[in-house]
Structures are given as structure tokens and as C-alpha cells.
Symmetry: none
Subunit: 333 residues, 2 copies
């Protein structure tokens, strides 16, 4: 199918220019003629015209994330903004800090056409606020309604983590997770990990810290204490009960690693750690921990591509899963 | 008084073209540059802004930062958004990546009343786009026009860094900086440092990496190489030429520390490092390096307080300087 990008390329103009022509905004006569020529030549279907719905576009998309103090979300938001800007769109940023109230506020804005669409990372039950009329793209999270979801291959990520630790000699594995248990793609990390352990006859346990311990919010030191106590209990017999730990995020892996170092537990000799996300030191250097890296930039690009399609009223995929890979951050053997 | 007609005549374009530029509408790049040149030359006051057109508030403030891949700006933006939200405002986020074009775009939006105000961190010469009619609060950067500037005590920061290193035995100090040299509060870091060294009879040099080496942008590895070569040259005689290095930011200190570790230079034994900003590991744990910590949350609160005052048309302070403090991150003795 011919896309707006094809038109832009053929006409030799920016995607934003094509978008302006389609939306009847001002562009120079020369550019308008080029775009219209390419539209004719390529047979681009301007669904937008056909619908004639949106009279007022705001050219603004809201990005809703738990909080950009978490470097993963800062990188995500960074790429989302870059991609939106390339397409002539602006980004409203909303840090929900996990509160439903703030999310609702932004969903209401979308319903009132104050933003053209929403790209969200929510781990709460936002179902009641999701409407088929609001262009919505979700990271990692399914909704009953037809919301497009972008994710990476979480099941494979779990498998890769287990395979790596088993192949380097780990005999007793742990999956450690924190955060909301609302059904989403990320829960598959644990399944992939457990299934791979089972297939290899390696015992594997799961410890779920749940929502109670926040990593970035105020009072976050309680998770440090909880992990410290947990590690002490794991070592009661003199040696670590687990010699390989896979965590649901790199943030959690980092907190765990810090506590293990404090207790003098040798990483990776006594126990290996693999996180999930692929965060780098200062967002630029080496990996913070060995990890399952998500293709954040590509996920952001795909999310923006999708939200723009939805805003134009085009059909989009329901679920897009991008590949992950193992990266060595020095916490594995 | 200079009128729009004078500008048109000087620029050799139609009055309508000038009007379009003022209103942020599309004109060719060539014409826009001509008009902007004449506006600057003639000192045209854009009465458009002054007409008191503000009938519609958008309850939106644009936050312009170089890029939130830099954790300092991620934290800054996080707190700005939280404060704006408390006051019923939304935040548009713009990562300029140091490009003037993107900054201009947002300044034009403000001129068109598409945002109520701007909170910006700019290290370029945005002077031509700054108008007294656009509510604007700047971090660290002065403008000729009456723009409120929020900063922390950069001069004291430099002094504290020098004092700490001198009191712990350093005999030969270096101030290492990178980034734009556009006049701003942050330049005082170097002055405070140098003045304190002088007062104590300790030799102090400055090395300015300038704008050429980006820490976060693509191809950022060139700064790693440059620092590595610099350190090798500093050690040509067998021992480090400097036994204490103060850097203009923690990001730079981190890159420096990484290179020093790679070369086997003992920190803090052979040379101490003090950065500036007060960044923590993963935005939550221990400090990344010994540093001069800025009160980011308080600075964000103050910035929002100011921008709201300006939007309401109230008088505000021109410069607000908040206190800094030394924090130990293990890279000092």
C-alpha cells in the first residue's frame, strides 16, 4: 500500500509537507503541486479526505509514561519526540507516576480533541478511558478495545536470559520481578524464562515484589532494604540459593547488583545477573548490567508511524513485536 | 518608530511576507532570513506580540532542552512537568539537540499563542527570537531582553570544588569544560574555580573542549578518544600533570573517569575528580562522581512559579540564584 512516506519521497519533500497538503494547510504552491502530482502518480488513497472527520487537528500527540526518571522511559520519550517532530507533530509529555488520575486527565483531553492521539505506557487498568475514537498506541500493554500495541519479543527475551545462564553453568535460577501485574506483554518475560529452565531441567523460582516497592519514587529506599533482607535469607545456608537471577527490568537489576556488592556477594562468580531493557551507563557508555536489550529507537519509530496512521484514519496492526538481543554488561560469565 | 512597512522595504519583500514571518507562517527560507535580518537591523518591535491578542490561553508551556538523554535534563524536565501539572498546565517537550531551527520553531509557536510560555535551556544565540511579549524563563542563560533566568550559584560551585581539592592535597589543578561558550551563568563555574586557586597560590589551567565534542549525540565516541589522547599527553612525564580536575558537568566527569580507569590512572589517589550537577546512579542511588550538586527540584519549582507569574502579566525577578553544595561520590579524597 502506498504510504505518506512514499508520496514524500516521490515528491522530494518532507513527510510533514505531504501531511499539510492532505490537511489543507498552507504550503508553497510549488510544493503543493509536487505533492499532488505524486499522489496522482502513486495512487495514494487519502483516507483522510474520504472521512472528512477531523476539522481541527492540533498536531500534538500526548506521550504518557510512568516517569522519565527511569532512563528507559527517558530514552523512549526522546525518540518519540524526535520522530513526531520529523512528521510535523509536537509532543505533550505526561509523567503519571502510576496515578490513574493523571492518565485519565490526558485521555479526556484526547476525547475533547485537544490532542490528536496518545502514545502510552500504562500499567494500570485504563480500559474505561480507552475509546475506539481516540487514536491510541500502547507500549507493551494490551487493551480489549482495538488499540495498537508495540512491544519487543519478551518471551524470547526470557528464553535468551535462561539459555545464557544455563550455558554458563548456573544450576538454580530465579526470576525477580517488580511492578504492576496488569496483563501485558512484559509478563511473557517470566514465561519464556521459566519454560526454558523447565526444558533444560533446571530449577527456577519466581519472586514477585509487586507494586509495593517503587524504584524511582520517593521513599524508594524501601526496595533496597527489601532486597537486602531477601539476599540475606537466600544466603542463610552459607551459599546463595540462586546462582543466576533474571530481573524484569535493568533498574531492578541495578538495585539488586548494588545490594549484592554491599553484602560482598561476587557477581558473576557467585551469582550471575541478567536484566531487561539494555540500559547504558549515562545513556551512552557500556551496559549497566548484562541484559536483554530492546530496540527502543525502532520501537519509538514504529509507535509514531502507527499513531499517525491512526490519526489519519488508516488501518493499523494490532500488535507489533520487535526483536531483542542479549548484551554483555559484565554481570554474566 | 519602525513599522512593518520599513522592514518590508529594507528586506525587499512584500508587507504580507513580513507579516507571515511575524506570525510564524510559511515563507521561503530565503525571504525569512531577509526579513529576520531587517528586523534585527532596524530593531523592529514586533507589536504583533504586544497587541494583547491573548484571548485564548492554551494552558500549555513548552520546555526546551538540549536533550533528555542527558540525565540532568531528564530530571529537570520531570520536575518541570510535575510542577506545571500541579498548576493545571501541560508541558510540550522539545529536544533541540542544539539545533537553532527547532528552537525557533517553538519560539514562533509561542508568538502565535500556541503555547502560553516557554521554559528553556538554550546555549545558542536565541536572542533574535526572544521577545518581551513571550513569557520566557531561562535556565542558566541571560538574554539582553528582560527574560527571567533561574540558576544556581555557579561561582560558589567552582570555589567549593577548588577548596575541596586544595584542602585534600591537590597541587596542580585543571578546569575541563565542554559545550557552548555563549555567555551564561555556567561560565562562572570556571571563574570561581580559578579565583579560588589563585587566592591559594595553586596553579590552575583551563582546557576548553568547546562545542566540537558532543557527549550524547551520535558519534559521541570522539569525545572519549579526545579525552584519552589528552590524558596520555598529561602523563607523558610519567605522572599526571594535574592531580585534581574539575569538570563543567557530571556527564563530562563521567566520560573522563571512564577514560582514566581505562588508562589505569588511580582516582582519587593519582588525581581527584569533581563534576558539576550532582547526578546519581540511575537517578536514585549514590552520586556518580564527587560533584557540586544543583537543587534541580527547587530550580524547577521556581521556574514554573516564574513562568506562571509572567503568563499572568506579573513582575518577576530577572535572576534567581539557588544554593549549591559539594557531594561525595568517591572520586575525591
Amino acid at each position: 500500500m502506498v504510504t505518506i512516506k512514499d508520496v514524500a519521497q516521490d515528491a522530494g519533500v518532507a513527510v510533514g509537507t505531504v501531511s499539510k497538503v492532505i490537511n489543507g494547510q498552507y504550503v508553497s504552491e510549488k510544493n503543493r503541486m509536487k505533492v499532488e502530482e505524486s499522489v496522482r502518480k502513486l495512487g495514494y488513497q487519502m483516507n483522510f479526505y474520504a472521512r472528512g472527520l477531523k476539522t481541527r487537528n492540533t498536531y500534538t500527540v500526548a506521550a504518557i509514561v510512568p516517569e522519565i526518571l527511569n532512563p528507559f522511559f527517558a530514552i523512549w520519550v526522546y525518540h518519540i519526540e524526535q520522530e513526531l517532530y520529523k512528521n510535523g507533530y509536537k509532543m505533550l509529555l505526561c509523567n503519571t507516576q502510576g496515578t490513574v488520575e493523571k492518565e485519565e486527565h490526558y485521555f479526556r483531553m484526547a476525547a475533547q480533541n485537544k490532542v490528536d492521539g496518545i502514545i502510552c505506557v500504562t500499567y494500570r487498568d485504563a480500559e474505561p478511558y480507552v475509546s475506539e475514537e481516540i487514536p491510541l498506541v500502547s507500549l507493551d500493554r494490551h487493551f480489549e478495545k482495538r488499540v495498537s500495541c508495540i512491544s519487543s519479543d519478551n518471551y524470547l527475551g526470557g528464553e535468551l536470559a535462561a539459555r545464557k545462564m544455563i550455558s554458563t553453568g548456573s544450576k538454580s535460577l530465579l526470576y525477580l520481578r517488580s511492578g504492576s501485574a496488569v496483563s501485558g506483554e512484559t509478563l511473557k518475560r517470566g514465561s519464556g524464562f521459566a519454560d526454558c529452565c523447565k526444558a533444560n531441567g533446571i530449577p527456577c523460582e519466581t519472586v514477585d515484589l509487586g507494586d509495593d516497592f517503587q524504584i524511582f519514587e520517593n521513599g524508594s529506599s524501601s526496595i533496597d532494604d527489601a532486597l537486602c533482607n531477601f539476599l540475606i535469607s537466600c544466603r542463610r545456608t552459607g551459599r546463595m540459593r540462586y546462582d543466576g537471577i533474571y530481573t524484569s527490568t535493568d533498574s531492578l537489576a541495578w538495585v539488586l547488583l548494588t545490594q549484592m556488592r554491599k553484602l560482598g556477594i561476587q557477581v558473576p562468580e557467585e551469582a550471575q545477573i541478567i536484566g531487561h531493557d539494555g540500559l547504558r551507563m549515562m545513556n551512552r557508555g557500556g551496559y549497566m548490567v548484562s541484559s536483554i536489550a530492546q530496540p527502543v529507537e525502532e520501537m519509538a519509530r514504529k509507535s509514531v508511524e502507527m499513531i499517525l496512521k491512526k490519526i489519519r484514519g488508516e488501518e493499523t496492526e494490532i500488535l507489533t513485536i520487535l526483536p531483542v538481543k542479549f548484551v554483555d554488561g559484565g554481570t554474566t560469565r
